[in-house]
């Protein structure tokens, strides 16, 4: 591995001068080994207020039942399932980065996979709480499990996508957790070997006795690869099954075979946007500019344009098929979506998901941190509206005009949603404090092959094609963490 120099045509994955293995450890563990700064405290207190609101709103729902939400007999699913699908979708980027990019040997995943996987786990926790609280009687949540019972024994309906969903989400959560934790072991051992006192004891327990000997590392790599191999179809299956919650019904607007690929693309789209929202801030506040570089940001933006465009094509295809089907119910569902009382939600979705991400075709925009950050939030707003549009606009005008209704959220609906964002950020900020936000061992792998300094050494040695060097130097212009003055040749 370390003997081969990566081509100069590839952009560096670690920037900065005189980076050593020790410095990588120091830089990444800075927030873990020191007292948090003011920015962290401000963020944490705000997030904690949100999490408290979430506890209040969910407890209120448990106590008074889902009558405390704005649901009515026509619109039986609204903000709850919107929030559920939104969070599950956000979670998908973590697995995509850790598993799919590992299979494709995309080394740039090494510095973003850890926090993206953490994000997956926290997002799935937020999603799962929606599943439990929308049941109405959450203390009977175990009824979705195929357990022998006193009713005969009456089994769950294995033909139902809702049961499949329970299997999918719980498998997804536990496999993601395993993958994440196994990857964390070497880094927890690094913290352990630098800590003293009580901290050392705690990290000793959680490091599982990791020493980093040859056999453990070799097996570790085998396990990572197999887990990546099985997580890849898993992540695709999860959102496919989520989409089947709708697609297997006979509701116009839901009953469509395009849903599985369209939901998966949407999930990756929103997930990468959330990764950017979090990492652009974390990179700045934690001083990780050398590890999460402009190349990473630009690569993620490219995935956002791709998946955003797939989603855009899916919207148009849906509309076309509604017309082409000749089914007046289907046609009405779509006309109503775009021009009915919820037209504003539809056009919000179209603008945020299809139109504004197209700005990322411009290199100036996709390599601009402020613009990227704003667009990433816009995408997540759009993706929330997408789920809202699919769910509420398909339901609110059903077959009998006398039962047509609108959905108005109550304070509980809003608080559960806002609170879940608070919960997510609380968990993420705690994660940044106790565990390394970047996979230390994996980034060390890149130091001798794909770092700016190793490439600079190659250039300084001089046996490279002049044209390639010029290309490389030009590609460095966009990096905010590279000092171009260091390159004197030319």
């Amino acid at each position: 591995m370390s003997g081969h120099n990566e081509s100069i045509l590839r952009e560096p994955l670690i920037t900065g001068k005189d980076i050593t293995y020790a410095q990588i450890t120091d830089d990444i563990l800075l927030p873990v080994e020191n007292k948090p700064n003011k920015a962290w405290w401000i963020g944490f207190i705000i997030a904690l207020c949100g999490a408290t609101l979430w506890v209040v709103a969910v407890s209120y729902t448990f106590w008074f039942g889902i009558g405390s939400w704005g649901l009515n007999k026509t619109v039986g699913w609204a903000w709850d399932i919107t929030g559920f699908v939104w969070w599950v979708g956000i979670g998908h980027a973590g697995t995509l980065i850790s598993a799919v990019l590992l299979l494709f040997r995309q080394n740039w995943r090494n510095s973003i996979n850890r926090s993206a996987e953490a994000m997956t786990i926290f997002a799935v926790i937020c999603a799962a709480t929606y599943v439990v609280s929308h049941m109405g009687r959450p203390w009977l949540a175990y009824w979705v499990l195929p357990l022998p019972n006193q009713f005969g024994s009456l089994w769950v309906n294995f033909n139902s996508p809702l049961v499949w969903d329970m299997f999918a989400i719980s498998t997804y959560f536990s496999v993601s957790l395993l993958f994440w934790y196994t990857g964390l072991l070497p880094d927890i051992a690094t913290i352990r070997d630098r800590a003293v006192g009580m901290r050392k004891r705690i990290y000793t327990i959680f490091s599982f006795g990791w020493t980093g000997n040859v056999k453990t590392w070799q097996r570790f790599e085998a396990v990572s690869l197999i887990l990546a191999g099985i997580s890849t179809p898993l992540v695709l299956s999860v959102h496919t099954i989520v989409s089947m919650d709708f697609a297997t019904s006979v509701i116009p607007g839901w009953h469509t075979t395009i849903f599985p690929p369209y939901f998966v693309a949407g999930a990756i789209f929103s997930g990468f946007a959330m990764v950017l929202t979090l990492l652009l801030v974390a990179r700045k506040v934690l001083g990780l500019e050398n590890y999460i570089t402009m190349f990473h940001i630009e690569s993620m933006n490219k995935i956002i344009i791709l998946t955003g465009s797939i989603v855009g094509v899916a919207y148009l295809t849906e509309f076309f098929i509604a017309w082409y089907s000749g089914s007046e119910y289907e046609q009405y569902a779509f006309i109503n979506r775009s021009t009915g009382p919820y037209w504003w939600a539809y056009w919000m979705m179209m603008t945020c998901n299809v139109i504004s991400p197209q700005l990322l075709w411009f290199k100036k925009i996709r390599t601009n941190i402020a613009a990227t950050w704003i667009l990433s939030i816009v995408v997540n707003i759009g993706m929330w509206f997408e789920r809202f549009v699919i769910i509420v606009t398909s339901l609110h005008r059903d077959y009998l005009p006398s039962s047509w209704a609108m959905f108005y959220p109550t304070w509980v609906d809003v608080s559960v949603f806002v609170g879940s964002i608070g919960l997510f950020f609380t968990l993420f900020l705690l994660f940044l404090r106790v565990l390394p936000s970047i996979a230390i061992a994996e980034v060390k792998l890149l130091l001798k092959t794909a770092s700016e300094q190793s490439k600079k050494k190659l250039i300084d040695e001089g046996h490279l094609d002049k044209e390639q060097v010029d290309d490389y130097l030009e590609s460095l212009n966009k990096f905010d963490s590279v000092n171009k003055a260091d390159y004197t040749i030319k």
Binding site: Y21, T171, L178, K215, L234, S237, M244, A441
Partner: protein, 178 residues
Amino acid sequence: MSNIKYILGSFGDPDEMMHGIEKLQENNIKIHDVYTPMPIHGIEAKLGVKRSRLDIAAFFFGITGTLTMLTGVYLATVVDWPINIGGKTHFALPDFIPITFELTILFCAFGLVGSYYASTHLFPGRAPRVMDIRATNDRFIIAIDAKANADHAKIDELLTGAGALEVKYNERKYISYE
């Protein structure tokens, strides 16, 4: 000198460490183990670590999951409580593909990771058997059994010659933890 149990060659660079392994092996000095802060590719071939059979284990764990779900669903929907849904077959296999797939993955992942932890002796609270505390940070450590290889001066010379920043003589196998 007789109390020394292990000699550690501490390298700052993985390539130099690999060079050190070659040097030691050329001189028939047996290497006890190597501790590194990151995976080193190609090292297992040098040290004769056998290919992992975890992939085979993973396959069988996965198959167990597949069969468990199919059997379970068959027992529930055909044997224990058949339900007539519009005259459709009780064992509607296409409907059970998603859940069978999920259980395959679940069993495969847990079986695989469980086997990995068991085979490399990783479990919560295990006392870490650390020889050099910097092996998880920035040093690449070659450990040599000092009792089995008597010529310590030669080992020192080989390690330093290969680029070791430091050669340690440990009187205890593992450094004291706590």
